[in-house]
Amino acid sequence: MSLAETLLPVAVLLPLGVATLLLALAHWLPPRLPKLVAILVALAVCAFCVLLARASLDGPVRHWFGGWTPDAAGRPGVVLGIGFQADPASAALAAFCGLLFAAAFVFAWGYFDTEHAHFHVLMLLFLAAMTGFCLTRDLFNLFVWFELMSVAAFALTAYPLGRSALEGAFNFTITNALASFLLLAGTGLLYARTGTFDFATMGAALARTGADPVLIAGFVLVAAALLTKAAILPFHLWLADAHAVAPSPVSVIFSGAMVSLALFGLAKLVAQVFPGNAEVMGLVHGLLHGLGLATALVAGLTAFAQRHLKRLLAFSTIAHMGIMLTALADGSGTATAGLLLYILGHGLTKGALFMAAGILLALRRSADEIVLYGRGRGLWAPALATGLGGLLLGGLPLGLMHGATGLMDLSAGVLDRVVVALASALTGAAVLRAAARIFLRASGVPGPELLAPTEREHEKPDRPLWLMALPALTLVALALVPPAAVRPFLGAAAARLRDPSLPPLALPEAGSLDLAPLLLTAVLFAFALLRRRAVRPLSRAVTRSERTGFRALQALHSGLVGDYVAWMAVGLALFALAAAVSAG
């Protein structure tokens, strides 16, 4: 075996082994050691995956556990074991997860000074699950990592033991556990028809089968599960609760990597397993596209009407997931490249923003932009991170996210571009408005955000500002890397996500400078800053109707777990109806 083939399982085994070892010895270890070890492990995972990404440029790196290669059975189409496969995109995303975890561990230094290193055990298991999710080529193995990821995330959300944290974690657990049942049922249906779990073998079997309700149902269930994790309308309701109440270092991982990883998983399945099935691809190009647009718009508007910074960022994450889903549904090579780049850019930006919110929660004991009015003055580092983050979300023509939007626009229609610009502008302007209020004491009268839910919980201020600001600023700086630096790698990654034997895609140079989203952001931002009390009858009527509209949006995100489950059923019904329509 080559070095890369040996390293492939190590990327998962290392964090698993260290986490379990920490747990076994927790009672006897000095308290500082787990923190240091966790950072080192995250960096090591990142380094291994970078090596894997480089090695996989020469062809996919594969590892068959227990030596059960597809030939081991001696029967065509029978894969007895589980395989891992590193293509450039998967390995790069796993490396990104390692990097984000290292940053979150530095950010959390001192925050989780409890006995027994439980936080670090949970986080390392979380990291292992994410790397496994990226690297596996087996559908049931994907389910296992999906579920390990979920269980670690449930526990981490409830970790602060505040009221909101507990209830948010409960909603999160119920909805995502349901999602995992859907994933398992879908896996079962696909197995019943194809007799395998291996992506490539399943793809070959699917291409032979043609139209078949069982396969479509399998896809729908798997997609619904991954869309729940990726927070796509109408499966998205849990996210705002969970991300708003989880400890800030955990929210960094949730928004930065976990949700977009689910979308990456779906993109991988669509590219590797289902391309041979016309009905499924019809659903992808039709329904998923529409859901992406609806998600971007609804969540963008809701984000604009939030006052709790972490909840605002959570809705912004949902909106950006919607944007990514439109790229996934498009499915062309450039759109896939755009999707991959967008995951990185968005993850870095959102990670930095959640860290800035965490700094406010620790040092100013709130994340409510109205409560914090003017109280952030003097905190230049989080101000810089929030300001830059808001601009990047809003379409600043620099950095990875802008490069990604440029790639996605190449094959997008007019409607897509309008919705994407609007959603970006809404989220960017919302972040900038909060930043202006908190750090600059500049604001107009609060609009609909005054009515949004909020929370008084805060985090422990037990570490110096620079230690929290350093990872935040590093992430923002990385998000500002010019996209040209990664273009050749991105071309190979986008092409080989579909088929390992394809030559690298030649991506076009940066297209025209698209300033429309940034201008729209500026307009919305100015609108929020210049807003005055409505005194004249006409403006009062406008304000009233605006409030009614936003109140409906807030009512949709009610926080009641029963509502969330009902909407998930509606989402499944949408898939069923779309499949019935496309089947004629």
């Binding site: 747990l23 055990v121 049931f140 526990a155 019904a573």
Partner: protein, 267 residues
């Protein structure tokens, strides 16, 4: 949404799903005559390849052993999470006073209860170990055996009372069992890599079919799982039963609230 509207929404969604479910059910492979080739290939090939009688164990511990590692870690993760959630609020020390409902008499434990519990606990433990040991030959294995062994711990609680139970079952030891079982599993997966083989390669002698020693590395993996599951479930029992305790120095104002919580949690 009010519950009524929510129910209406669900009813509409389910009504829309019904035709789809029927179509899928009609298109499913014939019940009792599955077309998936993998399962029958395992039945046909693996007894020869791995010398074990229990195909489910072969799938769990060898063919798809890596799934089982993830699953094992999932259990460990959930138990760690539950420990954090339950222990976070009350701290590390075990509390001395039992939660007590006003008005309910406290009846001392009968000698017969103690005796029966001691006998039954021993038998349960032995049964658990036996189920785990025979994982390769008959239905059973590390998961099932571990759960049975851990549930024997409950009988100790019943027979010995809380204080005796806590002395017999220290939670750091359970955590160490849980963790070291999983570490052993990771080592089983990782050590073959050092020798240049794929992870989880079954390099041990395979043993005899229907023998207690059959399946090679699967035995080590099975033992790791049994150890870890016993620790996990034991820890879970300790943490949940700890909830029935009263903090010895609980302030009076908190007590009513706490009492209520314990009562509802138990009923």
């Amino acid at each position: 949404m009010t519950p009524r509207w929510r129910l209406l929404l669900l009813a509409l969604a389910l009504a829309a799903l019904l035709p789809a479910v029927l179509r899928v059910a009609l298109a499913m492979p014939e019940f009792g005559a599955p077309t998936a080739v993998l399962g029958q290939s395992v039945n046909a090939l693996v007894p020869e390849l791995r010398h074990v009688a229990n195909m489910v164990a072969a799938v769990n511990f060898d063919l798809r052993g890596f799934d089982t590692l993830g699953e094992e870690c999932m259990l460990l993760c959930a138990v760690t999470g539950a420990t954090v959630l339950l222990r976070g609020a009350r701290g590390e020390r075990g509390d001395v006073r039992a939660g007590h409902l006003p008005g309910r008499p406290v009846i001392p434990r009968a000698d017969a209860t103690v005796l029966v519990c001691r006998v039954a606990a021993t038998l349960t433990l032995l049964f658990g170990i036996s189920v785990a040991l025979h994982g390769m030959t008959t239905p059973g294995g590390g998961f099932q055996g571990g759960v049975i062994a851990a549930s024997g711990l409950l009988l100790l609680y019943l027979g010995e009372g809380y204080a005796g139970w806590r002395t017999l079952v220290p939670s750091p030891v359970l955590a160490a069992m849980e963790g070291s079982g999983a570490v052993l599993f990771v080592l089983c997966a990782g050590l073959p890599l050092i020798a240049g083989h794929p992870a989880l390669t079954n390099g041990l002698p395979l043993g005899e079919w229907k023998d207690l020693y059959s399946g090679g590395l699967m035995i080590a993996v099975n033992a790791a799982v049994a150890l870890s599951v016993t620790g996990s479930f034991g820890l879970l029992l300790v943490e949940f039963l700890e909830e029935t305790r009263e903090p010895a120095d609980a302030p009076a104002s908190n007590e009513a609230d706490h009492e209520d919580g314990t009562m509802r949690a138990r009923t």
